[in-house]
Amino acid sequence: MPQSRTAQRKRKMLAFIGNEALFLGVILLCFIVIKIIPFLSSLIYSFTDWNGVSGEVTFTGLENFKSMFKDKQFWYSMWFTAKYSLATLILTNLLGFFAGYFLTKPLRARNLIRAGFYLPNVLGGLVLGFIWRFIFLKIIPALGKVTGFPLFNLVWLGTPETAFWALVIVHVWSSMGFYMLLYVAGFMSIPGDCLESARIDGASAWKSLIKVTIPLMMPTFTRCLFLSITTSFRIYNLNLALTEGGPFLSSEAVTMNIYRTAFTENRMGYGSAKSLVLTLIVIVITLIQVWATSRKEVEF
């Protein structure tokens, strides 16, 4: 009897492993091939002087990391990206939250308005960038000539300050709808009785929002802020199509700097080291953010 029990346990275990392998195997294989192996390769290359083409690769130890500390443009790009991430994080989430808040109210054509807000998100970064490049270079100056409005008379892509805000405007415009949908889902997941009891207790709409809705929405905030930070730190397509890093590399985000180093300047080893540092920075920032917002989550 004990033998058959052992055999039964073994069979169960094998069946469990088999099921796991069947369901997870393919995806795990894809994940390893597409994510893990390139990441490990990049890690190895970051300690070499590989140019991305040559068969000769020399181990250089920490040389790339030492050079990075002296690379003013890299740290400028990092700072630019951090500022950009902060600006887009605040604006997309603020606008997404309030759009979501109003679009959970019983409005006419609510779904149509939601679809309208979400639509720009469907367009890819490159297409968006080219469309807005045309708008900034042709449409806005033409409007400036007609109206004389000072904002329209700025050379939007021609100075470091305006190029930064041009990127932020397009990013916020395109991704606000996505965050709005997440917030709509968050609002809809709040039990009606919580809000109802607040109303019975005499809470105003504003107080109810601050004291009930927002605390109950903290899991959504955690997700939205996490997504905002990771996507804005990885900005590339929009940066390429809209400003190409210009004028004079002043709007070059860190991913574009890494790409330029690795591919245009043929310094794959150095570029890998930069991407490793970026990964670490993003991990640290998102860990802090997830820790900070998760602490404030409440259960109901």
């Binding site: 099921n19 069947l22 369901f23 195997g25 393919v26 995806i27 894809c30 140019n51 991305g52 083409v53 040559s54 068969g55 443009q73 270079l137 100056p141 050379v155 892509l157 021609g158 100075t159 190409e244 210009g246 004028p247 004079f248 590399l249 330029r260 591919f263 245009t264 300047e265 043929n266 310094r267």
Partner: protein, 436 residues
């Protein structure tokens, strides 16, 4: 039931993965099919064709060329070879080439520029010494593709660049020739303004054209441009007082003063569109590569378009146009001999050169091949006249790749007015010196 469902789902996922793989293979097969003369042949016929013919893969950034005609003419000349052309945009060309390298699927023939780019790819290229086409071209042109005493490329065509003028506007203010000095360039602009005519447009959004093309004179005016660069790197040249660099900046000043106000956000495409629609009298930097587009968009422009020297100096003998050579190389693949034969046909025979000149409108370097306005356009013919008169500088291709973007940014800062000339030139000098 659960097990059946699990198996079914896994089978579906695996099928999905394989479908993706076979899909990309089909795409490759489709591309190959499209590049054969008869795109309607069946799949079996393609396999047979590929089995019988030897394939030569050509990777190029000249998307605008009529490659169908080149394929047809070469396959008629050499029926045993199936020429498969993959043409892409110049901005992604070398990135895609790296992709081919990573996937172990290098093309047989590539387009390449000499200097630092060729140095990077040299280990995958086959020496072309002995190729007949090399003997049909000027020695100073073929020498650009020489490294370690061997030829790793053959000049494919010359791109002749300078200031482009619309002579209709110039004629209206009494100018029958293009300006040859900076003072003349300034006077022309004053005349245009006085007559209420448009002046010019500068594509300074891409400072690459300034660095890659317009510094030709700065470096190539020296007997040994590489030695001059090494002198800068060693800190033996003060760029802030260097006559050549200051002359380049004098010209930039004039273009900023008389050109479009939004020069820093104007790209080459915008400049070219303005040229085809004849909006301005001069275009600060462009060249003979525009001929196919001019012929397609505004053929009448050929009658009154002119290529002028970069008017950096007030001594006309110092002002020249730029001559940028593009080359063709053979990669170390299984089809080296077939690839060499194709390159030799395209650049060394009358048949190949006829296609390049008459169909693709490019300025060839083959000795004795007649270049006319009908085939290579007005800009090509005028450019070759400058070359024949010794009024052209070969482009310098030796900039260290790691500082190129920063060099462009230093020039753009000056154009934007955020740094002075001295600051900009000092920054350029510091960048060179960082390569020590």
């Amino acid at each position: 039931m659960k097990r059946v469902l699990a198996l079914l789902l896994s089978a579906l996922m695996l099928a999905g993965c394989f479908a993706c793989t076979s899909g990309s293979n089909e795409a490759v097969a489709q591309t190959e099919a499209e590049s054969t003369e008869d795109a309607t042949v069946t799949a079996e016929a393609q396999t047979t064709s590929a089995g019988e013919k030897r394939i030569v893969n050509v990777f190029t950034k000249k998307r605008e060329w009529d490659w169908k005609t080149i394929e047809a003419r070469y396959e008629a000349y050499n029926p045993e070879v199936d020429l498969v052309v993959d043409a892409t945009d110049s901005t992604t060309y070398y990135d895609l080439l790296k992709g081919y390298l990573a996937s172990g699927d290098l093309p047989d023939v590539i387009q390449i520029t000499s200097g630092s780019t060729m140095d990077v790819w040299k280990e995958y290229l086959v020496p072309l010494d002995g190729l007949e086409a090399l003997n049909t071209m000027p020695a100073d042109s073929t020498a650009e593709f020489m490294a370690d005493g061997k030829y790793y490329g053959v000049p494919l065509f010359a791109e002749l660049h300078g200031v482009i003028y619309n002579m209709d506007y110039l004629n209206k203010v009494g100018w029958t020739t293009t300006p040859t000095t900076l003072d003349e360039f300034i006077q022309l602009n004053e005349d245009l303004i006085a007559a209420g005519l448009p002046t010019g447009i500068c594509p300074w959004s891409s400072a690459g054209s300034i660095l890659g093309h317009m510094t030709a004179s700065v470096f190539s005016s020296h007997d040994d441009p590489y030695a001059y660069m090494n002198e800068i790197i060693e800190g033996n040249v003060d760029l802030t007082t260097d006559e050549q660099w200051n002359a380049l900046y004098d010209y930039l000043d004039a273009t900023l003063k008389y050109g479009n106000a939004d020069a820093l956000v104007t790209d080459s495409t915008t400049e070219r569109n303005a040229l085809y629609t004849e909006e301005y009298a001069w275009y600060a930097h462009d060249g003979s590569w525009l001929t196919p587009q001019i012929k397609a968009n505004n053929p009448e422009l050929e009658d009154h378009i002119a290529l002028g020297v970069y008017p950096f100096f007030n001594d006309a003998s110092k002002n020249k146009i730029g001559n940028s050579l593009q080359g063709m190389s053979v990669m170390n693949t299984a089809h080296t001999e077939d690839a060499k034969n194709f390159v030799n046909w395209l650049l060394g025979t009358d048949d190949g050169c006829d296609v390049l000149a008459n169909v693709c409108n490019v300025v060839l370097l083959k000795d004795g091949f007649e270049l006319t306005v009908e085939n290579v356009g007005a800009l090509g013919v005028q450019g070759m006249n400058y070359v024949a008169n010794g009024q052209a500088y070969n482009n310098f291709r030796g900039f260290p790749t790691e500082i190129q973007s920063a060099l462009m940014a230093a020039i753009q800062k000056y154009l934007a007015g955020t740094s002075t000339r001295v600051e900009s030139l000092a920054e350029i000098q510091a960048l060179f010196e960082s390569c020590k």
